[in-house]
Structures are given as structure tokens and as C-alpha cells.
């Protein structure tokens, strides 16, 4: 059975890296053509599709007309179907990416392959959310979101696994510079994970990802009483505790569940401080943000030092999937805070209902200085 695969390329992605521009979000208009000419993302997409075609799955590629996919596929000689007429403007924008992703979804494609970076992932998350699985071909400058494969070849193989039914999808956090200029979780995508189990080969572990998060949540909630005021930090792992408590967490903000059962979503720092100061038994569930291991200061600035101190270190549960923490070497969690935090030191990190690890929590600035030495 042929699977319909949407292909989306951010034509200027990756160009910013060489200019130390930290991405192409603010690429000067004058350099747009230069970026398109470099065709970095198009090249990476071609590598991924070549890798996929070698494994020989049955797929039909669908791309929107022009620089957001069809042009690059045509140049690489990859057979595909094209949607619609060329965009009116030559220079593509965020809005074009969002529009293209929505058109592919409307066209009924079953999985989307895109080449870009965190910015592109953010746009796609805004466009389609978790309505179809998305594979990121790493082609940007910043790629902290969980949707990216390790290499274009890996993305191609993962696509093959999806088409062969050897993959299942899980929520993936999209990280980027969000509103207000801080970076953190800005959206969610559905990302496939493959289950390859050849003898002696790396396998996807059971009980990882979302099921581990559910296990942690069940254990935490089961060992608490009705007097607890829950503070749920951003991210899917912490969010699972919200689900266990019976509400849908914002995932991007900090939510509070009062002993009365009252839920407050996405609270700000001032209110949070009032809440935890007044609470008899506050408990904070704190996830680890992204591939760099930030615990505070990335999309959760609401959890200020005074909020943390008011809750108390012993009432803070750091949660993360084993996958996420084992990718961190050295095993360090970072704090980006202005004032010294009581969280600094070795802290237990729950990775499952019956298992945990321990990681060193450090001030990111101090860590940077020690790395400089």
C-alpha cells in the first residue's frame, strides 16, 4: 500500500550557521537569494529521501509548488506530486511554511518530512499541531526540538520504519525562542519512534517515553494526599502528572492544582508565589527542557528563585525520561537564574515508577566558566 508523504523544505534553513547568525529567522532580505542558492536544507532533504528510497518502501511524495519543496525535489530528480500554483511572492516567510503544512495536511498526507531547524518546527507545530506524525531532517542552525533525527540518513530510515509500520508516535517538545525572548517549549508535534530489534542491535526500550512518564505520574500521585498543592512545570513528562490528576496540562506553562481540585492553567510568577507561599503542602513537578538539560530558566521563568525557595527543595520532584537523561553527558542539569538557587547540588531524578537516577544541578553560568577553564 502506498503511503502519502508530505515533503516540506525551508529553503533558507541552515544558512545562518555560517554567518554566526543563530538561525535564519532574521535573515536580511538581501541575502535571501544567497541562502536559497546554498540549498543546504534541500541537499539534506535529498540525502534523507535517497536513504529512504534505498530501503524501498512504497511512498508517494507530495510537495507544494515552489521553493518550499517541489523545486528542490525536481532539481534532485525525485519523483513527486505537486500541489497548487507557485506562491505569489518569491521570498518565502513563516506564513508560507504554515500555509504549506496546512495544505499538505488537508491533502491527506499521512506523514510529514521537513528540512529545517527549530524555527521551522515551531511553524509546523503552529500549523498542524499533533494531527499527523512529523519527521525532522536536521538542516537548521538550532535543532533542540525532539522532532529531529540524528542525521538525514536516519530520517530516511525512520520514514521507512513508519511506512513499514515499525514505528509508533509520541508527543515531542518543540523548543525555540518564544514570546518574550526566552527559549523553552513553544509547541508540540507528534514524532515517530522506530522499533528496530535485530539481534545485537540498538532497540527502543519498553516503558520509555510516554509510558515512563505515566508511570512516574501514577507513583507520585499515589504517594500523595489530598492536602497537596501541585505545581506542574512545562513539558510532557511533568504534564503526565497533570493528566493523572485529571486535567489537560498546558505543557507550555506552569499549572497549579489546588487541594480543592481547582485547576489554574498557565499562572504567572506573582500569582504562583502567592499560591505556594500560602499552600501547606506544595509539590513541584519539574521536567528537564530539551537536549541541553535546562531545569530552570528556559520557558519556566515563572519558577523564580523565590518560588523555588518557598516550595522547598525536598518538595521538588525532578522528572525526566531515561532517554532524555541518558543523552546528557556530562550528567548535569542547568539552571539559568539570577540569584543562587537552593537546587544546586546532586539531585534525584525520577525516570520511571520504580527507578531513578541522580544528576548534578549547576548554575549554567558557573558551568560555562568552568568549561572555559
Amino acid at each position: 500500500m502506498t503511503v502519502s508523504v508530505g515533503v516540506l523544505v525551508n529553503p533558507i534553513a541552515g544558512f545562518g550557521g555560517t554567518l554566526a547568525m543563530h538561525g535564519t529567522d532574521e535573515l536580511p532580505a538581501a541575502r535571501f537569494d544567497e541562502a536559497v542558492e546554498a540549498n543546504w536544507a534541500g541537499h539534506r532533504m535529498t540525502l534523507a529521501l535517497d536513504s529512504f528510497l534505498r530501503t524501498g518502501g512504497e511512498a508517494e511524495f507530495v510537495a507544494v509548488q515552489g521553493l518550499l519543496g517541489a523545486t528542490q525535489l525536481a532539481a534532485a530528480g525525485i519523483h513527486h506530486r505537486t500541489l497548487g500554483s507557485p506562491p505569489a511572492i518569491r521570498r518565502t516567510t513563516r506564513a508560507d511554511t504554515i500555509d504549506a503544512a496546512r495544505r499538505l495536511l488537508a491533502e491527506g498526507v499521512e506523514v510529514l518530512l521537513f528540512a529545517g531547524g527549530d524555527g521551522t518546527a515551531t511553524d509546523i507545530a503552529e500549523a498542524i499541531g499533533t494531527r499527523m506524525p512529523v519527521i525532522g531532517v536536521p538542516s537548521g542552525v538550532k535543532m533542540h526540538s525532539e522532532v529531529f533525527s540524528r542525521s538525514p540518513v536516519g530520517a530516511g530510515r525512520l520514514l521507512a520504519d513508519v511506512i513499514l509500520g515499525r514505528a509508533s508516535s509520541e508527543l515531542a517538545e518543540v523548543l525555540d525562542v518564544g514570546e518574550g525572548g526566552f527559549s523553552g517549549v513553544v509547541g508540540m508535534l507528534l514524532a515517530p519512534r522506530s522499533h528496530e530489534a535485530l539481534q545485537g542491535a540498538k532497540t527502543t526500550t519498553v516503558g520509555s517515553g510516554s509510558s515512563a512518564a505515566r508511570g512516574i505520574a501514577r507513583e507520585l500521585v499515589a504517594h500523595s494526599d489530598n492536602a497537596v498543592t501541585w505545581v506542574i512545570g512545562p513539558g510532557t513528562t511533568a504534564g503526565a502528572v497533570g493528566e493523572e490528576l485529571g486535567f489537560e496540562p498546558t505543557l507550555l506553562g506552569v499549572d497549579v492544582v489546588h487541594p480543592s481540585g481547582l485547576v489554574e492553567l498557565d499562572v504567572d510568577e506573582n500569582h504562583l508565589f502567592d499560591v505556594v507561599s500560602a499552600a501547606g503542602h506544595p509539590q513541584l513537578v519539574l521536567g528537564v527542557v530539551g537536549g541541553q538539560g535546562f531545569l530552570l530558566g528556559r520557558g519556566n521563568q515563572q519558577l523564580s528563585t523565590r518560588v523555588i525557595d518557598s516550595i522547598g527543595v525536598d518538595r521538588i520532584h525532578i522528572v525526566a525520561t531515561a532517554e532524555k537523561v541518558s543523552a546528557l553527558f556530562p550528567p548535569v542539569l542547568l539552571l539559568d537564574v539570577d540569584t543562587p538557587s537552593s537546587l544546586v547540588g546532586y539531585r534525584k531524578v525520577r525516570t520511571g515508577s520504580r527507578n531513578s537516577t541522580v544528576m548534578r544541578v549547576v548554575d549554567a553560568a558557573a558551568q560555562f566558566e568552568s568549561a572555559q577553564r
Partner: protein, 508 residues
């Protein structure tokens, strides 16, 4: 680069045993009963089988030929296999022959101990030798492998804390990310929670991390040292002291004993218990995955919890006893006795000096390999520059090569088998470096064998640069081509028996 061997595995295109033979053929015919024919019904109504079991029907020579073909389609250790973490050893034939003697092979474990004193005496002597090598006071050979010995430790930990009235409180076992997966798994199976210490910058977990998580809930520490990267945690005694200070037990998974034989004794480091794998370190064959023995050693204090039966010497006689605080059994009877006898024989053949030489060679040969491997483009090592020189293993990575060519360690591994080099071990979970591979030179293989292994790796990496498809689609010279594993985890397609296969894949 030296010449690469021209190799091809036997490829018989051998059918499944159910496809062979024909109705009515006989392999081995059992004797008829000597009892006079009975007229009574043998069993209660309805208990008899209505139709014969759907087994194959082959003449004896067909069975012999079939399984000989299967043996020929198995590489085993007949090429060069540097399967790290498994310590490939010479398995002397004389031990197989001695083990097949009736005084061992035909002994029923419920015979009176007085009738097989020779066997029990050897088991006892070997226990004494392992006590000598580890400093422990007693050993049990009942565990059926290293993982089972880890389980026995978790079981003895339960009994120890229960005997002190502290079990309900002591629910946590601490291990490390580089400990074999069986350690945390066995601990959880015995009812404990697991706390895993990560590997830090120096290549091993820190004492500070340990101290952050131990306390009145701590039941035991379970770890290896050196680990599978050949890294020795120099603070191990502080680990043990810290765990003892909070009332926990310390277990030494001696899976990586080969490089430290005759240099380190578990008990003197402070461990309460340890484990040796007789099918790895002590020269007994692995048999594909056992019969194996995880010899579990412990202190005098823990010896009373050991499972029975234990061999003890009373005057001139060897007797079987149940220790007074015994945990009972982790498995029936005395253990895989023939493997114990093979290990004893191997140890006597080696002598103390031989064991020391074996450790010397295994560490020296690993460092030799490291010199050569690190000169190969695309190969890097875990934690470069740290914890040098490595002991009997080094963990490498093909990540640079993968980035360059898109080929994975699995691809390279498959292609190496095309030259008679068996699979390397990648890494136990979790993977600390991407695309890992872990060769272990050991003391058996010659310098020429190690060179051949490295030459083949280098050759395959070059092939992959020239012609990635050749490597990706390998093996090409093996008994069968690359498996299509896509259906292995799908209940609609997996088939672990022929009957399931026939049912699910009826068209074939």
C-alpha cells in the same frame, strides 16, 4: 594493510526440520515395554492424546545431516570473535571429555553424597580456589548465569535485611549506568526500587552522587569495576564505605574480572559479595547462551543465607548441607556441575601464574588494539584521554564514520562477518556513546588474530566509503543474507514456532 582472507560460510539452504523426512520414518526407536500387555485403561477418560504430536519424521541419518548442516552454518568461535563483555576463551576439549564421564554425567543429584565424593570434592576444591582469588568465605554455584547470581544477591539482600527487621525500610538498590542491565533488573525482580548513578566526566560515577541518594532506605549497591569501557573507578572503596555506613550491602559484579585476576580481591576492597562467570572468565564454553554458572561468593556474615545444598567438608567426607538462614533456592539442585568441573580444570591448568599472565595479556592486547584502532579514520573512543590506560576492554564509537557515510555499526558488523569475523558487541543499554563497539582481546587470541580483526574492520570501513551499498546490504558471504527484521515485533507476523509460521503465512 595485510591481505584479507577470502571466506565463505557454509550455505546449505537448509530446510526447516518439519520440511524434511516423510511419514513413517524413524530416527531413534525406544524399547518396547517388558511388562505383560494390560487390559486396563491406562488413564482416566479423555486424558489420552487424540492424535500424535505434529513432530517431524526423519530417518536417523537425516537428523544427523540436518543438525550437522546447522552446526556448519554457525560461526561460533571458529573464526575470530572478540565479543566484548563476554571474554572469549579457549574451551579445552579435554574438559568436555572429562565432563562426559559417567561419574559426572550420569550422577543423579538425589544420590547419597557418599556415592559421588569425587564430584563433590572437585566442587569444594574449586570453591576454595575462588575464595582464594576473591577473599570471600563461601561460594554458591547454583545460579544459572551471571544474571542469576545478581538475582541471588538481591534475594540474599532481602534475607539479610529481613533478619535485622529492616526490610520494609530498605527498598532501594543503587547501581550505575555502566553496570550490566541484569543488576537493576534482578533488583527490581526481587522487589527493590533502583537508583542508577550516571557516568560523570571522569568516566565513572562520583562519590558525591552516591551520597546524595543513599540513606536508611538503601539496601545494596550493585556494580562492576572495571566497567565495560575498561575504566576503573578509583574511588570504589569510598563507595563501599559509604554504603556500609548507611547499613547497605555491596555487591561486586566481577563480569570484567579477566583484566584484574590475581590483582584485585573483592573482599579486600570491602565488598560483601561478588560474582564470577565460569562460562566466561574460567574457560567453560558458552554453548550459545549456557549452560552457564554465576558463581556467587560472599562474606562469612552472609554465608548463612546462601541457598542449599552447599558442599562442606566434614573430616574426609564431603557433605551437602542447608545453611541455617538459607534463602532456600534460586534454582533446583547444586548448579551446572559439569561447568564447575571444567572451570576447576581450566583454573588448575592455568595455575596462579597463568591467571596473572592471562590478565597481563588481556590488558596488553587491549592496549595494542587501541593503538591500532585509534589510527583508523572514523574510529573514536569513549571518553578519550580519560582513565588511561584502559584495562581489558575499550569502548569505541563509529559515530564519525556514520556521519561520513551513513553506515551504522550494525552495517559494519554484518560486513565483517563476510570475512569470518564474528559480530562485535556494541554496548549494553544505555548507550553512552553513539554507534558503540566493544571488542575484547582476551588472552587466547594471537597477535595475528587481533591484527586480522583490525585489518578486516579497516577494510570494511574503506569498502563503505567506496561502495556504501555493498556494506549496507551485507552480509554476502554468510550462511544466509541479511534478515528483514521488520516483522519481528509484530504479532501478525512474528512466528517463534513452525506452527505459528504456517498459520500466519499460509500462502508460503
Amino acid at each position: 594493510m595485510s591481505t584479507i582472507r577470502r571466506y565463505h560460510a557454509a550455505a546449505w539452504d537448509e530446510a526447516i526440520v518439519f520440511e524434511l523426512g516423510a511419514p513413517g520414518r524413524r530416527g531413534v526407536v525406544p524399547p518396547a515395554s517388558w511388562a505383560p500387555p494390560s487390559t486396563e485403561p491406562s488413564f482416566a477418560p479423555g486424558l489420552r492424546r487424540e492424535s500424535p504430536p505434529a513432530l517431524p519424521e526423519l530417518a536417523e541419518y537425516e537428523v544427523r545431516r540436518h543438525y550437522t548442516h546447522l552446526a556448519q552454518q554457525t560461526l561460533g568461535m571458529m573464526g575470530v570473535s572478540l565479543f566484548g563483555t563476554c571474554t572469549m576463551k579457549h574451551n579445552p576439549t579435554v574438559n568436555e571429555q572429562v565432563g562426559a564421564r559417567h561419574e559426572i554425567a550420569e550422577v543423579h543429584p538425589r544420590q547419597d553424597p557418599s556415592t559421588y565424593q569425587g564430584v563433590l570434592g572437585i566442587v569444594h576444591s574449586f570453591e576454595a580456589e575462588l575464595c582464594n582469588l576473591s577473599g570471600m568465605s563461601a561460594f554458591s554455584f547454583q545460579p544459572g548465569g551471571g544474571a542469576d547470581a545478581a538475582y541471588l544477591h538481591a534475594v540474599i539482600t532481602r534475607a539479610y535485611h529481613a533478619s535485622r527487621g529492616e526490610l520494609a525500610q530498605r527498598t532501594q538498590v543503587v547501581t550505575t549506568a555502566q553496570a550490566h542491565p541484569c543488576n537493576p533488573a534482578a533488583a527490581v525482580s526481587a522487589g527493590f526500587e533502583v537508583i542508577t548513578l550516571p557516568i560523570e566526566e571522569g568516566g565513572y560515577p562520583s562519590v558525591a552522587a552516591l551520597k546524595a541518594v543513599i540513606g536508611p532506605k538503601t539496601a545494596a549497591l550493585m556494580l562492576n569495576n572495571p566497567d565495560d569501557m575498561g575504566i576503573y573507578n578509583p574511588h570504589i572503596t569510598e563507595f563501599i564505605d559509604a554504603v556500609h555506613d548507611v547499613g547497605g550491602l555491596a555487591f561486586y559484579d566481577n563480569a570484567n574480572f579477566n583484566g584484574v585476576m590475581t590483582r584485585l580481591r573483592a573482599r579486600e576492597l570491602g565488598f560483601d559479595a561478588c560474582m564470577f562467570m565460569l562460562h566466561k572468565t574460567f574457560g567453560a564454553p558458552k554453548g550459545g547462551n549456557g549452560p552457564s554458572v554465576g558463581a556467587y561468593g560472599c562474606s562469612e556474615e552472609l554465608a548463612r543465607f546462601l541457598p542449599g545444598p552447599r558442599v562442606v567438608k566434614n573430616g574426609e567426607a564431603y557433605e551437602l548441607v542447608e545453611p541455617d538462614g538459607s534463602v532456600g533456592r534460586v534454582r533446583e539442585f547444586l548448579g551446572n556441575v559439569p561447568q564447575v568441573i571444567k572451570a576447576y580444570s581450566w583454573t588448575r591448568a592455568m595455575g596462579t601464574e597463568g591467571l596473572r599472565t592471562a590478565a597481563d595479556i588481556s590488558v596488553l592486547a587491549n592496549n595494542y588494539m587501541e593503538k591500532r584502532l585509534m589510527a583508523i579514520r572514523g574510529v573514536s573512543m569513549s571518553l578519550p584521554g580519560k582513565a588511561l590506560p584502559r584495562l581489558e576492554m575499550t569502548r569505541y564509537s563509529l559515530e564519525e564514520y556514520r556521519v561520513e557515510t551513513g553506515l551504522t555499526g550494525g552495517d559494519v558488523q554484518n560486513r565483517m562477518t563476510d570475512f569470518g569475523i564474528d559480530a562485535f558487541w556494541m554496548s549494553h543499554e544505555p548507550w553512552i556513546v553513539p554507534e558503540p563497539f566493544t571488542p575484547e582481546a582476551g588472552e587466547m587470541w594471537s597477535k595475528e588474530d587481533l591484527d586480522e580483526w583490525i585489518d578486516v574492520l579497516e577494510h570494511v570501513l574503506e569498502e563503505g566509503r567506496r561502495d556504501p551499498e555493498l556494506v549496507r546490504t551485507s552480509p554476502h558471504n554468510q550462511a544466509v543474507a541479511q534478515i528483514d527484521g521488520s516483522g519481528l515485533n509484530d504479532p501478525e507476523t512474528w512466528a517463534v514456532t513452525w506452527a505459528a509460521y504456517r498459520r500466519k503465512h499460509a500462502q508460503v
